[in-house]
């Protein structure tokens, strides 16, 4: 699905990614973890073509992403902070994104699911953080793309919406899609992900299932396993 070879990226003197190799197979939920500043968002933005790597090759569904932007038709991306043009109404934003991408009628179901109907005529600038995030989720899931990338999807969500989001992620997984998630909420990661990718200092430190990680670090639970990696590496 996604293959990355020798990815390097630095911002000024700060080497964010240094020779990262990663292969993500078809189907399943992958969590990208790592301490702050380990390059999670940079990795995701490189896959999306928003950050241009200094070195390295990225293939998404067998296509080299350097060649054309069309491969983004196959990716649904949920950005970390939902900042939308503030003088646009929710309805107009949804219509605009549909116009820019392709036809879909999934949005009604999602709007219903996240109870967004009363907000459709409100301007995005007047919405609360959690409601914006729900709009963000609707925009991401309304297209039926084989690869879904979620950057901190749980930010600002209330417990009910969180449950709905988890259900949504599981439904998409059942359709055979590949889902890439970054999150700092370990319980969320433990609950949803099949495999984790742990980034440390711009490289992949660990890739495998959660149980493998527990054995590797000799820790009984996931949260402590992650913490032990961080303390062992003085990060």
């Amino acid at each position: 699905m996604v293959s990355i070879e020798g990815l390097y990226k630095k911002f000024g003197k700060n080497h964010v990614l240094s020779g990262l190799d990663l292969n993500i197979n078809n189907g399943g939920i992958f969590a990208v973890l790592g301490p702050n500043g380990s390059g999670k968002t940079t990795l995701i933005k490189s896959i999306l073509g928003m950050v241009i790597p200094d070195k390295g090759v990225i293939h998404v569904l067998g296509e080299n992403i350097k060649k054309n932007p069309e491969y983004r038709h196959k990716i649904d991306y949920l950005p970390q902070i939902a900042n939308f043009p503030s003088n646009l109404k929710v309805k107009e934003l949804i219509k605009m994104i549909k116009d820019l991408r392709q036809y879909t009628n999934e949005e009604d179901r999602l709007i219903e699911l996240f109870k967004l109907t009363p907000f459709l005529d409100k301007k995005l600038g007047n919405l609360s953080g959690g409601t914006k995030q729900k709009v963000n989720i609707v925009l991401t899931f309304m297209f039926n793309s084989p690869l879904i990338i979620l950057d901190e999807p749980t930010t600002g969500l209330d417990p009910i919406s969180l449950i709905r989001l988890k259900d949504l992620i599981q439904t998409e997984k059942a359709k055979g899609k590949t889902i890439l998630i970054t999150s700092h909420i370990m319980s969320f990661v433990e609950e949803v992900s099949d495999e984790i990718v742990f980034l440390l200092e711009g490289k992949i430190y660990f890739k495998g299932s959660i149980s493998e990680l527990k054995t590797k670090t000799n820790q009984p639970d996931f949260e402590h396993a992650i913490a032990s990696i961080l303390t062992d590496n003085h990060a």
């Binding site: 928003m50 491969y71 983004r72 900042n83 994104i97 116009d99 820019l100």
Partner: protein, 260 residues
């Protein structure tokens, strides 16, 4: 690109600032006509205002729009769109909405005053054409500055400096060189110097069309010989077009390499 242009354009058309800008020109046109009571005279006064104000507004608006629509841009970047079409679409959206405010704001009072029966129509059209060119040029320059500077304050600073340089400082330096080298024949040099600054170029172009070049002395005569002919007019428009194309090319080039 057209879709982005459409959304940027409507976004701006809905914002208060386009109306303020439009209302300002409307008022300016009406007041000048009322005070001058004569179309040609109003055109001259208007020129002085336009030459300075249009670049300033283009610069400020361009920088402001770029920084304000950062979120929108990031949203677009994750969609299957080419980077060049995102940025060119936004640029054209800003430049066109500004140009339309200018053309309509000034056009409406002049048309009602009887522009079409007057001989000033060509001078007035030239004024609007150069105004549009200046909008295109300075919005493009502003986008360049904003693309190269993540820091808003720095971006605004550079944009204002650029305007100040081209609108005022350039003329001062130009004049000083002319005085320093006054023993030498300077007509060619001053012609080139004028060509290299879009504001000066527009001013000279309009002044000479208005037939008040007698005020300009010997150099004025040389200028008249050059700009007054069709050849000079064509060269001037070619220069203005180059002034649009170069910054636009840099927008395309720079946006391809930028990280978001």
């Amino acid at each position: 690109m057209l879709k982005i242009l459409k959304y940027s354009f409507f976004d701006l058309m809905r914002s208060r600032w386009s109306y303020v800008y439009f209302a300002f020109y409307l008022l300016l046109g009406i007041v000048l006509l009322f005070l001058n009571n004569d179309l040609s005279k109003a055109v001259i006064t208007l020129m002085n205002v336009i030459i300075v104000l249009v670049p300033l507004i283009g610069t400020i608006f361009g920088v402001m729009y770029y920084y304000n629509s950062k979120e929108f841009t990031e949203l677009l970047l994750a969609q299957p769109l080419k980077r060049s079409s995102i940025f060119l679409g936004q640029y054209l959206g800003v430049a066109l909405s500004l140009s339309i405010s200018l053309i309509l704001g000034l056009g409406i009072p002049f048309v009602f005053y009887g522009l079409f029966e007057s001989s000033a129509i060509w001078d007035f059209s030239l004024l609007l054409i150069t105004g549009t060119f200046l909008t295109l040029i300075f919005t493009a320059l502003a986008f360049n500055i904003a693309l190269s500077n993540e820091n808003k304050i720095k971006g605004f600073g550079y944009a204002i400096l650029l305007w100040l340089f081209l609108a005022i400082i350039y003329d001062g330096l130009f004049l000083m060189t002319l005085i320093m080298f006054e023993e030498y024949p300077l007509d060619k040099l001053s012609l080139v110097g004028t060509m290299l600054n879009p504001i000066d170029l527009s001013r000279t172009l309009i002044l000479l069309k208005l037939d008040i070049s007698a005020l300009l002395g010997y150099t004025g005569a040389v200028f008249k010989q050059f700009f007054g002919t069709n050849f000079g007019l064509v060269i001037s428009f070619v220069m203005l077009t180059i002034w649009v194309i170069l910054p636009v090319l840099r927008i395309v080039f720079k946006s391809k390499k930028k990280d978001f």
